[in-house]
Homo-oligomer: 137 residues x 2
DNA sequence: TCATGACTTTATAAATCCATCATATCGCAG
DNA sequence: CTGCGATATGATGGATTTATAAAGTCATGA
């Protein structure tokens, strides 16, 4: 069973699907995804560069970086008065890439469905139906 | 730029990293990961089977399935009085697999770090320091 | 030591998610 | 049509996350 992997680990008895969900929680914010993508494109990135990219206030960015650290997704290194971040594991970039592939598929499919709906002849109030559809996602 | 992909899409102008984060939100609950994993192992699965596997009350499971449907992660099909679910895209299984690889790496590394800490000679109150370390994750 | 730039932590209100229960809907058989 | 099994939806309070600003810490140069 999948839990067996984690059960054998000395200090953490949570099922793997629970640990996975926790990982996804760490990824479940736009800015944190953005940060990871920027980090995936460079060896390491200074907080200053991340601040410029994100347009955030320093404390706001730091809060998100803290979440990423806590989830073991990034590691930081201080060099004098500057701090640099990098991805903790190369597999994180893999995960983001696979997610992208999936999303491309989802977006293509759902857009096709929207187009199909739009091509249908009017039934009642098509304008309302179409805005309901858009609101669903 | 990455946003260009989504910007060209007719109805959805959100940056891709935002759409990705939304995808991860759909995945950010243990039971929803579990459900997807069960679905990944079969062609299709009845709600009844999912109820047995999860041990949930019907309405609780249904709420989670609703989230998965809304995120386009599963599709449902009613056959008489029973409803069957399956993964909406095969790439979802890929995503879960990559996440697993990443987690294995993370868990191995963090466990090694814990072991290294335990091997250190006592400094002050090792018992307290060790429980602080465990609480950190 | 002090001032300052760089970055982190603390604190807190608002927003969102989760757990749970009540109710509604769908399909089938009698 | 009614009853019932199967499943979905609505509602709501508690828990967690997010957004934001204030305060704190670290490193450096004068």
């Amino acid at each position: 069973m999948k839990e067996a992997l984690v059960s054998d680990t000395k200090l953490d008895h949570r099922p793997l699907y629970e640990v996975k969900a926790n990982l996804f929680k760490g990824l479940a914010h736009p800015l944190r995804v953005r940060i990871l993508e920027v980090l995936a494109d460079a060896e390491e990135t200074s907080v200053t560069d991340l601040l410029v990219d994100s347009g955030l206030e320093a404390s706001h960015l730091s809060q998100h970086l803290s979440v990423l650290r806590r989830h073991h997704l990034v590691v930081s290194e201080r060099k004098a008065s500057q701090v640099f971040y990098r991805l903790a594991y190369p597999q994180i970039a893999d995960l983001l890439a696979v997610a992208r592939v999936l999303l491309v598929e989802i977006l293509e499919t759902t857009q096709q469905q929207l187009v199909s709906t739009v091509d249908l002849p009017p039934v009642g109030r098509p304008a309302v139906a179409s805005s309901t559809e858009a609101a669903a996602k």
